[in-house]
Each structure stands twice: as structure tokens, then as C-alpha cells.
Symmetry: D2
């Protein structure tokens, strides 16, 4: 009988980053893939992946609407509570042999709790990293609920072991999204970019920057001030810019309001605002951009292998391993401006392999297919 | 302004074990105590503490009904999801400066997630222990969501540090329940014990044993077989016995059904069945008993300081530090019988101080009153 | 393509009363039956029907754990809220062409809201009756959410029409449980009754009375006093008695506590306490009893066709059509005693057909199979 | 002791329409007002009233985030389920003597169930109307859960009586929003309108039309087609237009997507898009407009007293009493265009008093202050 592997996706970028693994799972002869879509991955406002995945031969098994509107700490917490109720229903029905989750988003903890409480072995990709925001707590809490760990770098593997996990179940096969970057040959066209979104027309055959700035859940009161600093910096730079709307974390409404106000009253030029892009196009857009600005993990992960110049703002990626392509700045207009100018002057960096290994998806899926599964966790004391 | 410290209680034994801390919190001049009762702590079937606490001058600030009937893994998980929704409401209203939780029960994770997601500093008592069941995962996940740690023994303090917590916020002041044991002079009377519960009249002035056996969430399919082994052993021993009903963990219905069937068709003699006892009486009953049988943590914790002979059955307390007063056996009738007989023959052990320190409650509360609080967690790498 | 008819069952007595309809649905060539079990119908403490139904060839399609412990008004309301969330999941998955619900229990409103909001045509059995408690409000609210109505008597059909429902979709085919009574030849044995439950052994070959008294949700503060009056009356009558535990409505804990206290300290004789019985046995037990005491609707419905003497206590069945076999009394020990004695003296009444028609199940199912379904409701003004 | 009257508001237009009642409640010497805000009334995307109300001296007592993102039937139903859980918490805490709700929105049923199940007397404003969508079912279900009824017209009062309600508790004092219209002298300015929203600048000193078109929950699959017909009609009319975004009912995402696509690719001129306006400004804007187009109840209610020409599209207001100022059309571009042109040619109508009475707010509040309250409902048979 095939092993039932249930993969959980809760945002559109999350799909992009796990695409190779999901395809590998689908094609593996000993695995029956179960796909669960939830949270913002199925919300039109945040890039619904349902149709895209169906077209790519990946129809979902279950969908979970769980996101409470409000974009604040209360709705973030309650979304997670409702998520546990719903993931429990779904896992109890699908009865997977193993559930696979990824990273550190707040709602992913809901999937982790549901699986662990139902005695379903849980595999976690990208454990052991350190970051800012509530993600830092969420990620390690998920590690302590998980049975199998696929870290994306050696430092993180060490950290997961230190956390008491069994060395026989902790693997560093590199970062799945970097394998996707390495394999992806897509490029974007002016037509697509200027068909989507709103704002000025951008010619991506000339140098452009990308902005992705999400709220910081542990600094939620500063959300508006933080986005305003970036908006002003970008306005004054007056460079062709593709700006992505923020994710749904607490503070999102303040960030969005800042952007909307800016659009209406700031009379910005040279900026196009996008909600999301399909995975391949997004990587293509990153690859040909001159600089990535904001606090997205793409600036730490994807950018490392591209040698893409990055201006990383604030604490959201605090503590994560990064290459020399990243300049860290505060939420300060002048710092942001000057860092962007320095990066443009510098141009492309040498790619680094902090997070990249070939064969990531295949290695992960082979382990998922063959590892002996277990339920009761034991703290591994040997370190 | 006084610091608002919110203490969460989710079972009646949980109240007993934290009583000294709660009183200390109430009396501290710089602290405003907020009491939240939830889960089985307010259910009549499981020992509602509302009235007892009110009589002792500790009326609640908020009560949370969150327990789904069913006693299985699904209801355990969904109770936790609903718990997050409800704890979020409560914490958002009370706006505590710090939330204090305890131990490893599945529903406690709900309080932890709610507080952490709302950026409320979280203090955790009894982190770093290792045990069996889902509790093992829950406890460490809570540690990774918490900001302040009060472990109950030195080994656990070391483990919490290894988990990456900040040494300035990890303290070992000993186990609160052992301080309660040490200070408590209550004794129980035949009248009380035989007024409560159902079954035969027991003369507690003669040697008697106590049985407390809870379901093991990670072995839920074996629940009935496990309880039956103990029931048969106790029946064949035919000694005066006080038997406590199980807690609400997944598997509770099978355990309860085993006990009910036994009562109706096993024609047991010499056994009295109780739901719960007030804290002081429970300690009094333990102190004067000849042997504790089952898998309660009271056999590891309270019993250690009393030198009480314990027969610990199965994996539920797996890995926990224990004194020589504990004999571990499998879910096997003959093993249980023979271990009980050995313990009765041996009699009282020397008390040990594995978990005991004087001044536990006062030391914890002083820290809660004075520690500088913080929100954003950072992994402490120095170990 | 067969029409998908989804039948919802939320208590064990609810199953009994709808058994003939469910069998008819299962056997109809144009219908695909979908069975959803929820609320107390799947709780061991309240008579889990899962296994019984599976043995009778009726495995469930979906099960919903939704009952919050507490037995008070808050948990009753929140159970309903959670029920909407869960029924929505289930109906969205099963995609029935029509959902069939029954009667007036508080949690049934959850199924009604979920179906109506999903634009699924809703059929309601037993609309138009009037009663006491919150049931009175629930029943008519359900009527206003429903598209097809099967009342159990002519007065109720008139009332449903008056409520603005379309006459083409309102039918009186009689009460399904009375058809079940009429067709059922089962009788109970001393062995079964005395195998189940707890308490004294009862010889059902001699005259015995049955007590079924549930809490009244709109008089929840009087629950204990109300049950105590009945307990005292029964004790003083000192007749062989079969006593059923109450349902889960708000107040249930007080009622249960009254019964438990009575069992322990009232030293009752001649009473056996049962949780539930399978449908056939329950009807058999009713048929051969001398008198039914309490506030169950069985005293109004089933008893009418049996000519069974009934002492109906309090307001729970207020307003319902009843035959001369029913004596109404207050929650007053003396009134209850004297009414029981009068009923025993009188003995069996002539059966009446207030609620009975032959062919109920077949007629209902034929309509469910053939009626043209619709979604948008319109108030029918013609009356 | 003052009577505690709890008023529930779940949308910004809902606040506008009840403003006079709320002020009257606040000023009544025998009443303690409790304000509960929930659902879209506190969502920035849909016109958060929190700050506006606070500035007007009406700070809230409780706020409830309950709206699940998705804008489909599933999220509509689950929002209602979660709403019951949350309203139960809130009412259990506030312990009002009476809860007041309004109209027929799907989430309002949550407040009704919570209050009714907690035995709190429930007053309902605007019962007895008939409309399309799920609102038709919701409104009458709420009536059957309510204890006091304030209808807005005589026909509706008759209908509520026919539904079995007690004549002593059914009053027609007219429609509160029409009293607000009658008393309101506000006018809007070009500055305000063109400060808010997005799109072309509109000169409201010249003739302009207003469009308000919401999804129809029972025709959710046609949402996009329906909005597209209106969008095309308005485009071809090419008149100065103020367009309000739709409410959150199921289908809202399709409607919004239609509007957004239209904005980006339809290159509309002469249109300004608004999310919401404060109550006074909204009435001012209505008063000075040339025609209202869409399916808002404002076209039936507010417009009647203004003699405002209305083009009402589709079934959403089906069955409601309307004056001669309303032309009904299908979701058909040509019908819409030609009806708008006819209305512009006709100009203002004579105001009618279908829904208006003076003193509405005062009369309602006097009853709320003085009526004898009751809990147990009885079907009133006399009609």
C-alpha cells in the first residue's frame, strides 16, 4: 500500500517554494499525495492558487477557509484556533501516514498541532532557522511537535539537534526554493507585468527594483510608520519599481492603508503594485531585477543564489544567515535610500550556496517514502 | 501601577499544585492577580474548583468552557483550537502584563499560543521535564513560546537552556506542589472519604492503596486493555482501595467504561471511587496511604517528598526523574500485583529532594513581580 | 442521477424515531442516502448509535463531535455555533440535493442554518408543534429556514401554513415514531433491562413505571428543585421504576447531580437507572409499562397511540396536543404522587390517533424523491 | 437599577440607520446602554465605525472579529457559527436585560441565537419585511427567536402577528432610518467626496447618479455576470457616478473582481469608487443625487421619503413595499440604461410615507425602557 503523504499549503509563495517537492511526491511510485490548501493560499485577495495548481495537474484534496478578517493580533490568534479545528477535521478524514508542513507562518502551527494531537507523524521543512517576529517562536514550537526535520542549511540542522530531536530524523538537503531558482528558466514579459496589478506601466527591460515589505507581528504598533519610511524612500528614489502588497500577518491593514493612501495622495510615479505572481514568473522577475527592498525572506533565500542585491529593512529577518549581497538597514528613509543607491552601484554579487544543494526535492521525498515512522517523541539527550 | 499577572488553571489538581503561588501572587503588593479558569477545572464531572476557590478568597476573573465531549484525539485537538479562540478573547480583555501557565496538558498549549500571538510575555512553570504521551511534545512547544521559565529541578533547567532560552529568564526554584506538600498538615477523615464518591466504605485508618490511572494519548487504542489490567490486579489484591476517575485526555471514555463495567459486573469489594478531592485533602490522603498505583505524575512528584511507595504503570511518566520509591511496571496484571505487594512489604521510603526546594512560591512570585519583561524572542546560542 | 438526501441525527432517541424513514430512504431506487451523525448521538455517555446503526446496515457518512461539556446555557449556545461550522464543512463536502432534519433540539438549528446558508433545500419533519423551553423558538425558526415541511398532525400543518410557507410544500403524513410504534413487535426482557444500567433489579413482568425528566432550558435555575420533587415523589411511591438519565440540554448537570445524590444518599429501592435503550427495546419497554412520568415528548407522542397513562410534569410539553391519557401536574411532589396513583388505578386508555397515520415513512420519502426542489424562499401570503 | 439594553451593530450602514435610537438609548434616564460592534462594522475594508462612534460619544463595550475571508457561502455560514460563539461570550459577560438587533443580515442571526439561547429577551427592529436572498429566511427566523418587535410599516406588523407573535409586543413606529433622513440636514461637499475613494473627480454640484449593488446570496453563481451588466450600462451612460463597493455577502469577491477588472481595463470615466461614508454624509449624498441604481435597500427605504428616482435591479429587494419612485429591472444592460434615462428625465418624485413616522426612535426606546420583559415564548394563536 502506498504511503499517504499530506502536503499543506497556506500561501501562494509557499506553493512556489515547494513546487518541486510536490511534483516529486506526486510522481513517486510508493507515495499517494494528498494536497490541503488553506489560509491565504485560497483567498483571491492574496493570490488564490487553486486554479493554477489544478492546471498544473495538482487538484486539492481539501480546502480550508480559516482566515479571519481584521489583520491584527487577535484575528491572527483566532485564525490559528479555527485552523486547528479545521485541520483536525481534514486530517481525520484523509488519515495521512505523514503530514508535511513548511516554515514558520503563524497559521502553520495550527496544522502542526492538529497532526501531532492526532498521532500523525509530522515532517517539517526549514526548521532551525532563526528570524524575528512571532515566526521565531512558531518555528521552534513546530520543531518540538514534529517527527522528521528537513532543514535548509547546516547551522539549522545543528540547532534542531540541539533542540533534542533524534539525529536519525534530521536532514539537511538544502532549501527547496533554491533548487527551484536553480532549475527555473522562466522570464517575465512586460505584457504580463503590466497586465496584472495597478499603477504605472513599468518597462522591465530596464533596471527596476522590487519592494516586498510585510508587517512585523511583534512590532505591530509601528506598522504604519515602518511602511511610510519605505514608501517615502522609494518615492524619492523615483526608480521603476514593482511593489508587492503585504501578506496577512497582524499589521497588514496598517501597511495596506499606508500603501493605498500613498497611491491616492502621494501621486507616485514609476511604481506598479502587484498582489502576487505565479511561482515561475516571480522567480523570473526577481532574477532580472536590480535590487530587492523590504523584509521578505526571498531577500535572504532566493536572492542568495542569484547574487541579487538586497536592502533588508528592520528586524523581520533578524538572525538569519545571509550572504554579502544583503545590506541591513533600519526603518529609516535616508538609510533605505542610501543603501539602495549603493546596491545599484554595486550590481550583481557572486552567488553563494548558503542554502543551496542540488537534489533537494528528490532527497526529501525519498526520505518521506522510506523512513520508518513513529509517534511518541523522546527528547534526544546526546548533545 | 501594579503589574497584572494572569494565572491560568485548567484542572482541579492544577489548582492544588499552584495554590501557594496563587496566594503569594494575591498578596504581593506590586501585583494585581487575574485568575482564569478553563477546561476541566470548571466541569462538575471533573471537580469544578469555582466554588472552592471563591470560598478561599480567589474568585475568578474569567471562565472558559472549551472542552468538547468525546474523549478522543479529535475532540482533544478541537478543544485546543476552541481554547485558542477563547483564551484570545480573555487575554485581549484582561490585557495582562504577563500570563503564567503550568506544565504540559494539551489544552495549556492553547493558552500559550494565545498569549504569545498577542505579544503578551508568557511565564511557564515546570518546563524541561520529559515524559510520555503528547505531553512530551506539548511541554517543549510551550517552552519555545514562553519568555520566562520556572523549572522544578536542575536537570530540567539545563534542558530549557539547551532549548535556546535566555539564561537570565530560566530559574529552578523547585516544584510548587512539593512546597505545598511540605507545608500542608491536613489529614482526611473516614467521614469525608466515605461521604464522597461511590462504592464500598473504606476505613482509612487501616492500610489502603490509591489508584490513579489516566489514558495515554499516544496509545489511545490500548486504553481499555490498559485499564483492565490494573482493574484485575487490584481486584485480585483485594486491598482497601481509593480509586480516582481518569482525567479528560483522549481515551478517557474507554478508561471510564472499563471502570464502570468493572463496577457493575466485576462485583468489586473494598474499593471506593472518587472524582476528585480538594487540594489539602488529596495531599492528606496521599500522605497516609500505603501505596500509590497508576501513572499519575503525583507518583513522581508528590510521592518523592513523602517517600510514598509507588507502582508506576506504563509509559506515561517515561523519562521523568524519579526516586527509589518508584517501581516501574508494564500494563500487566501480574507485574502490577507483585510490585504492589513488594511495596507494601517495603513500606515508606526515605523522602528525597529531587523536586523540592523551600520558598518556591515566593521566589517565583518575586521574579514575576520584578523581572524586566520582553516580547521578541531570540534563540540563545551560547550552549 | 440519484437524488442525494442527507439525513441528520443528533441523539439516540432521534434515531429511533426516524428509523423507518431512514430505511425507506436507503431502499428507494431514486435516492442516495447520506447519513450524518452528530452531537449526543455519538457520545458514549448519551447512547452512541454508531455501532448499532452500522450493524443495521446504516454506516455513517460523516460524524460531528460538537458538544461542549458544561450542560449550561453558554455551552448550549456555543455548541450550536461550533455545530454550524462543522455542519457547513460536512454539507459542503457531501453536496446533498436536500438535507432532512427533525424536530426542535437546540443543536438542530445549527444544521438548519448551515444548509440554508449553503443554498441547500432543507426538509423539516415535525414543524408547527408548540412546546415549552427554547425548543418553541427553535422549531419555528427552523421552519422559516426550511423549504419542505412534514408535520405530524393537522393542527401543526395549519400553523406552518400560517407561518407563510408554500402549501405545495407542506404535508401532514403523521408522526414517524408512531408508525414505528405501530409496526414494532419487540418486547424487552428482564435480562436485558437488568444487564444495562445501575441500581436495583426490576421485574418487568410486574407493573412498573418509567421516569424520563429532562431539564427545561428556560427554567434552568430551577433544574435541581424540579428533579428533586420528582425523585421524592418516586421514592415515596416505592414502585418498581425504570429511570432514564436526562438529555444534554442546559441544566443537565443539575438534574444529573440530583439523581446521583439521590442514589448515594437517598438509599432508593426498586429503581433502576438507564442511560438509553435501542429503539425497539425502548418502545417495547414503554408498551408494557404501567405509567410514564416526567416531561418527555414520548408521553405526548408514543404514549398517545399506546393509550399509555402519562403524568406530564411542568411546562416542557406546554401547548402540545395531547390525549386524555395525559395528566398534567406541576413540579410538586404531592401532585406527582397523586397523579401517578390515579393513573395506575385507571390503567390503559383507548389509543388515539392524534399523531398517527399509516404509511408515514413511505409518503415522506416519496415526496423527498420527487418534489421539485427550490432555493429562494418567498413568504406565502394567501392565508 | 437601570435596565441594561445591549445594541448590536454589524455594519457601518447599520450604524447610520440606528443612530437616533442609539442616541435616545444613551440619553434615557432608565437605561444603561451597552454597545457591541461586530462583523464588518469594525473592518477597515468595509468602513470601521469604531473611531467615528467614539468621537460621537459612543465608545463600544465589546468588539467581535468574526468575519472569515472568502466571500462565499461557506465563509458566510462559518462566520455565523463563529459569531454565535463570540456573541455568547459577550452577552454572558454584559448580562444585558434586553438585546436589540436589526434587520436581516446573515450574521445578525448569530446574535439572535446567542441571546435567545441565553434566555435574554431579544428585541428586533424591522421584522416582517419580505425580500430576496437568504435575508428572507434570516429575517423571519430572527422574528421567531425574538420577544419584542418594532416593524417599520403596517404590512410588516401584520405579518409578524401572523407569524404567531404576541400583539402586546409588536409595534409599528416606522423606520428609524427615515426619521434620520427627515432630521438630517447634512450635505456633502466636493472636497470630501473627492478626498475619499479612488477614480475620477466628480462634481456633485452637477447631476450625478449613485450605484450600490450587492451580491445576491441565493444567486451567487451569477454574481459576476450581474455586476458586469451594471458596469457596462453605467459605462455606456457615461454620467458622473459615485459607486459604492459591495458588502461582504457571499459573492462579494466576484462583484469586487468585476469592479476591479472594470477599473483597470474598462478605462471608465466619470466614476468615483467609495468604500463607505459616515451616516450624515451618505444621506446628504443620496438627497442631492439624480438617481440611485442597484439593489440596496436604501433604494426602497431612504429613497421613498426623498422621492429619489431609483432603478432597482434584480431580486434582492423582491417583495418589499415600494413607492412609484422605483423602477424594477432585470440584470440586463439595456433595461438598466433605459430605466436610468427614464428616471433622469422624470426627476424627483413626491415623497411617500410608506415607512416614515415621526418619533420612531423615541417610541422604540420608551418601549424598551418600560415593557415587561419575558423569556419563554408562546405561539399566539388568535389570528
Amino acid at each position: 500500500m502506498k504511503r499517504k503523504v499530506c502536503f499543506v499549503i497556506t500561501s501562494n509563495i509557499h506553493y512556489a517554494r515547494n513546487k518541486l517537492i510536490i511534483q516529486e511526491l506526486k510522481n513517486h511510485p510508493d507515495i499517494q499525495l494528498q494536497l490541503v490548501l488553506g489560509a491565504s493560499a485560497i483567498l483571491p485577495m492574496h493570490g488564490d492558487v487553486t486554479d493554477i495548481m489544478a492546471k498544473e495537474g495538482l487538484p486539492y484534496d481539501e480546502r480550508i477557509f480559516m482566515t479571519l478578517e481584521g489583520g491584527n493580533l487577535v484575528t491572527m490568534a483566532k485564525t490559528t484556533g479555527l485552523g486547528i479545528i479545521e485541520f483536525t477535521t481534514v486530517f481525520d478524514r484523509l488519515k495521512p501516514d505523514v503530514v508535511v508542513i513548511r516554515a514558520d507562518r503563524f497559521e502553520m502551527l495550527a496544522a502542526a498541532v492538529a497532526a501531532a494531537y492526532l498521532n500523525i507523524p509530522l515532517a517539517h521543512i526549514e526548521g532551525g532557522d532563526i528570524t524575528g517576529t512571532i515566526d521565531e517562536s512558531v518555528r521552534h514550537a513546530i520543531t518540538k511537535l514534529s517527527h522528521i526535520h528537513f532543514t535548509t542549511n547546516e547551522e539549522s540542522r545543528e540547532r534542531v539537534l540541539r533542540l533534542g530531536e533524534n539525529p536519525d530524523y534530521v536532514f539537511n538537503f538544502g532549501s527547496p526554493e533554491l533548487e527551484f531558482v536553480a532549475k527555473n528558466n522562466f522570464s517575465v514579459t512586460n505584457d504580463l507585468i503590466n497586465y496584472l496589478g495597478v499603477g504605472d506601466t513599468i518597462d522591465i527591460n530596464k533596471p527596476y527594483i522590487i519592494v516586498m515589505q510585510h508587517p512585523v507581528t511583534t512590532e505591530v504598533k509601528d506598522s504604519r510608520k515602518q511602511i511610510d519610511a519605505t514608501l517615502q524612500a522609494i518615492k524619492e528614489l523615483n526608480l521603476p519599481t514593482i511593489w508587492f502588497w503585504p501578506n496577512v500577518d497582524a499589521g497588514t491593514d496598517e501597511v495596506s492603508k499606508g500603501i493605498r493612501t500613498f497611491r491616492e495622495y502621494g501621486h507616485p510615479h514609476n511604481i506598479r503594485f502587484l498582489k502576487s505572481l505565479p511561482a515561475e514568473q516571480f522567480i523570473g522577475l526577481l532574477k532580472s531585477s536590480a535590487c530587492l527592498v523590504g523584509n521578505s525572506s526571498a531577500g535572504i533565500k532566493e536572492a542568495s543564489l542569484m547574487g541579487l542585491p538586497v536592502v533588508n529593512i528592520g528586524t523581520r529577518q533578524h538572525g538569519r544567515r545571509r550572504g554579502s549581497n544583503v545590506i541591513d538597514v533600519d526603518h529609516n528613509k535616508e538609510q533605505i535610500k542610501s543603501a539602495v543607491l549603493r546596491q545599484l552601484e554595486h550590481g550583481r554579487y557572486q552567488p553563494n550556496n548558503l542554502y543551496y544543494q542540488p537534489g533537494t526535492a528528490k532527497n526529501i521525498v525519498d526520505k518521506l517514502a522510506s523512513l520508518k515512522l513513529y509517534t511518541q517523541k523522546h527528547f534526544h539527550e546526546s548533545r
